[in-house]
């Protein structure tokens, strides 16, 4: 099978407008004859559901939280990029495009990324019109900051709560359509299977998380906006409920999974404090604008940081990367923190942490300035660690944060299953092997507000209005499959809790498929995951019944899918015999220890097709063509 990205031909700047013009349209009066299912109501899903409903489609939207306002998007802190060039500092659509392609280490598709940069302009307008209270300058115009090492100030923000404000904006638009009767909202409802009829996605099977009722929902198209799978590592900065279940179960029906091993490890998180740790907390990367990262020069130096004189400190990022210093991209910063800890120079009780020190910034700008910029983050740090970062340096360590991989989609955001779309972090599309800070929010909203409304029309215009009744055999079979799995989970009654097994999986993934990877390690991990899977299905203990709120049962289903996805990530990491972005294979590095790409053999998207067993999937390659940028070695020296 040849993977057709359906990217339009012609000059980069004209692709999207030409595509919009060429796309088939559904007549306004006929839109109401089409039903669309939107699974997930984070930034991507809420914006899509609202926008499609405004156009006239009938939307059914689903989320597992008790309200769409609680999706994981709410936790994004730092900001959202847009090429507005309000600061007159040389930003442009092309520059944002270029930065994203380069930051992604040349493993994303030019046409999609350019479109993302293009519609970034509209996103900010839309959010302001909804009442999103972005930060402003004294003159009343919007403020920007530079973020994650960008050379221009293009990041819009709402204090340290940008994701919250953007999500509440999308949630308000969604709520308005609920009132208008165009969106039917199903909170506390989890999608457990996709329903296919004649090779097209035609519905989903859900479980009502309060009553356990298994239900069928039929539609003309299905959108998966179910977020990322960082929790395959057990510990991550993701919310506890983030999972891969919807995407993975669609994968089993034929949706290819692309670049699963591309995960982002964020450099500035609060370190693990003990075995009880349930999740990790991100400290916004904006802290690196003023904080300096260091460790003691000597191994095993256990002195308190204030007793270590300047001359005995190693500001390792500033030393190795004089031009970018503490602002090198995330993957580079994370890997370097790992190196110094591996050398035995890590700090804190576990030795798995580096300092992020604000002493010089406070001396330079005063405590008040630092407090006004980062006060809420400092408070959060203090709350969690019991230490005061105004007086003693923060301790930070990298943690899993974001997954660039996801369901393969074409230029229309359609997966390899006709009628099944994937938006937001759930798809693989725009960030290549490494995502730039403040670009996930942008992508989620671009997909939902400005891409899917056009893209879906092009498909639906070719489809009949006929509805498929939910007593159709395809629905019944899927319901059966879901019920069987639940009964199986409840009947094993072994001796390991779901969390225990999830922790073990996470440890294997972190040790062998985390910040750096080797063929040997990955091969070992393959065996370990196989064992974990066997143990899960023979020894897991899930109490209670289906017909009640049963959080262990919910988790069990998600962990079962994580185990299989983990196995595929291992295969993908083994297959990619190069280092790029967040994927670092120790065998492939430059003499200076930087990631070494192999453009000749690996300039492709790895899209995996399920064949009945996740350790034996078929690889399809989408070759990436670069017509507008030259592939260079990333250098932040």
């Amino acid at each position: 099978m040849i993977l057709d990205s359906k990217s339009p031909h012609g000059p980069l700047e004209e692709k999207w407008s030409k595509h919009i013009f060429d796309a088939k349209l559904v007549n306004p009066a006929n839109k109401r004859k089409f039903d669309v299912i939107v699974v997930g109501t984070g930034l991507a899903g809420a914006s899509a559901a609202a926008s499609l409903a405004e156009l006239g489609y009938n939307v059914k939207a689903f989320c597992f939280q008790d309200s769409p306002r609680r999706a994981h998007s709410i936790a994004a802190q730092g900001g959202i990029n847009a090429a507005k060039n309000y600061q007159n500092d040389g930003d442009s659509v092309f520059r944002l495009f270029y930065d994203t392609i380069k930051g992604g280490d040349y493993r994303s598709r030019e046409s999609n990324v350019y479109r993302l940069a293009e519609v970034s302009l509209n996103i900010i307008d839309q959010c302001v019109a909804q009442g999103v209270p972005f930060a402003r300058e004294y003159g009343g115009l919007l403020a920007n900051r530079s973020f994650g090492g960008a050379q221009v100030s293009r990041t819009f923000y709402a204090r340290g709560q940008t994701g919250q404000q953007l999500l509440l904006g999308a949630y308000s638009a969604l709520s308005r359509q609920v009132t208008n009767g165009k969106v039917q909202m199903f909170p506390r409802t989890e999608m457990l299977d996709l329903v296919m009829v004649d090779g097209h996605a035609r519905g989903i099977i859900t479980r009502n998380l309060i009553t356990g009722k298994i239900e069928s929902h039929s539609a003309h198209a299905v959108l998966l906006c179910t977020g990322g799978y960082g929790n395959v590592f057990y510990l991550s900065t993701n919310a506890m409920g983030c999972n891969t279940t919807a995407a993975w179960r669609a994968h089993k029906h034929g949706a290819f999974f692309a670049n699963p091993c591309f995960t982002q490890i964020h450099p500035t998180c609060i370190p693990v404090s003990g075995d009880h740790q349930s999740k990790l907390t991100l400290m916004s990367e904006s802290l690196r604008n003023d904080g300096r990262v260091w460790v003691p020069k000597e191994k095993g130096d256990k002195r308190s940081p204030k007793d270590i004189p300047e001359a005995e400190r190693d500001y390792f990022l500033e030393r190795r990367y004089p031009s970018f210093g503490n602002l090198v991209p995330r993957d580079v910063a994370s890997r370097n923190a790992k190196y110094v800890c591996d050398e035995g120079r890590g700090v804190g009780a576990t030795g798995l942490a580096v300092y992020l020190d604000f002493k010089d910034a406070i001396k330079r700008d005063g405590k008040d300035t630092i407090e006004s910029k980062y006060g809420n983050l400092f408070d959060m740090y203090k709350q969690i660690t019991g230490e005061n970062p105004y007086e003693t340096p923060m301790r930070i360590y990298p943690a899993v944060h974001y997954t660039m991989g996801g369901l393969w989609v074409d230029y229309n955001l359609m997966t390899t299953i006709p009628g099944l779309y994937s938006l937001g972090e759930c798809n693989f599309s725009d960030h290549g092997a490494n995502r730039l800070g403040a670009s996930a929010l942008m992508q989620g909203l671009a997909d939902g507000y400005f891409v899917i409304p056009y893209a879906i029309g092009d498909y639906l215009a070719t489809r009949s209005y006929d509805k498929i009744p939910t007593d159709h055999p395809s629905f019944k079979q899927s319901e059966e499959r879901v019920r069987d799995q639940i009964s199986k989970l409840l009947s094993i009654n072994g001796s390991s809790t779901v969390d225990q097994i999830h922790r073990e999986l996470g440890k294997v993934m972190w040790d062998y498929c985390g910040m750096s990877r080797t063929a040997e390690g990955l091969q070992q991990a393959r065996g370990k995951i196989k064992e974990i899977k066997e143990r899960f299905w023979s020894d897991v203990k899930v109490l209670g019944t289906n017909e009640e709120l049963n959080m262990s049962l919910e988790k069990a289903g998600r962990v079962a899918d994580f185990i299989e996805l983990g196995a595929l990530m291992i295969e993908d990491a083994l297959n990619r015999k190069e280092s790029c972005g967040g994927h670092f294979r120790e065998e492939y590095q430059t003499e200076e220890g930087e990631a070494l790409r192999d453009d000749e053999n690996h300039t492709y998207v790895a899209a995996w097709e399920y064949q009945g067993d996740e350790s034996n999937e078929t690889l399809h390659k989408e070759q990436l063509e670069f017509e507008n940028v030259k592939l260079t070695q990333r250098s932040y020296k």
């Binding site: 309000y86 930060a135 969390d499 959080m551």
Partner: protein, 259 residues
């Protein structure tokens, strides 16, 4: 650290609940409150007992999902934080800790510590938005907004919809939550246009959901993890008063047509 926990257990909305007592041992002071409950649940499951159900997701104080009444206080003993941000170092070794769900009629218990807060969603659906659709909006910098206004709007918009204000109020009033949204949007030029009808519709829905009256005791704001200020209630009352003065006297478009 060791603790005795008195936890509200209730099988489902229809059952009667009661307190159960548990003891937990060797708890690290670095643990979060929810991690302490995770440990308890792991032990319960191993003993074949049903784990304590509680709502949570982000575990960093922003999603508004966690919701526990701890030792008689919404979100526990510390000011300006959510339950998930509470750490065991805030307690003393040997303490007895009482944990209950939010108690308010409009938030019925679903199971154990989990309650149904969908009434909040319905209040937002009644008008907590600006009526703009995707596309066709002006450039974001077209309307300058003074920083003081933007900041005040942001303060109000910080509400996480957790419901602690309702749980803390002896009348189970939702005024702080509703006023935060009304105020956020009324302050901004984009939201001003619909400010009066918004206040009116959201308050009507609030009443319909069975939330109680506001008697200005301020327990809501004192227990609010985001320290949402009582001034928003005053601002909403102003909008509401305007609404009563104006829109009640102006017939709707439809009525004009029918007439």
């Amino acid at each position: 650290m060791d603790f005795t926990l008195k936890i509200w257990r209730q099988k489902d909305a229809g059952s009667k609940g009661s307190f159960n007592t548990y003891s937990v041992k060797d708890i690290s002071s670095d643990m979060s409150f929810l991690e302490m409950l995770d440990e308890l649940n792991e032990d319960l499951i191993k003993d074949g007992e049903s784990p304590v159900h509680f709502d949570h997701d982000c575990r960093e104080g922003i999603c508004g999902t966690c919701s526990m009444y701890i030792n008689g206080r919404a979100h526990g003993p510390q000011k300006a934080i959510t339950t998930c941000q509470l750490h065991m170092r805030s307690f003393k070794d040997g303490d007895t800790i009482t944990i209950e769900p939010w108690r308010a009629k409009p938030f019925p218990v679903i199971r154990d510590l989990v309650v149904d807060r969908s009434a909040f969603d319905r209040i937002i659906q009644a008008g907590g938005y600006v009526s703009v659709s995707t596309g066709g909006v002006p450039d974001a910098n077209e309307i300058p907004i003074p920083t003081s206004i933007a900041n005040e709007a942001m303060d109000a918009a910080s509400c996480i919809g957790c419901g602690a204000c309702v749980a803390a109020c002896k009348n189970a009033s939702a005024m702080l939550f509703v006023s935060a949204k009304v105020s956020h949007l009324a302050l901004l030029p984009q939201g001003k246009v619909e400010a009066t009808s918004r206040a009116e519709n959201m308050i009507a829905q609030m009443d319909k959901e069975g939330f109680g009256l506001c008697t200005n005791t301020g327990a809501c704001s004192a227990e609010c993890p985001k320290e949402i200020s009582l001034t928003h209630i005053a601002r909403m009352n102003r909008e509401y008063f305007n609404a009563k003065q104006t829109s009640n006297n102006i017939p709707d478009k439809e009525e004009v047509h029918e007439g």
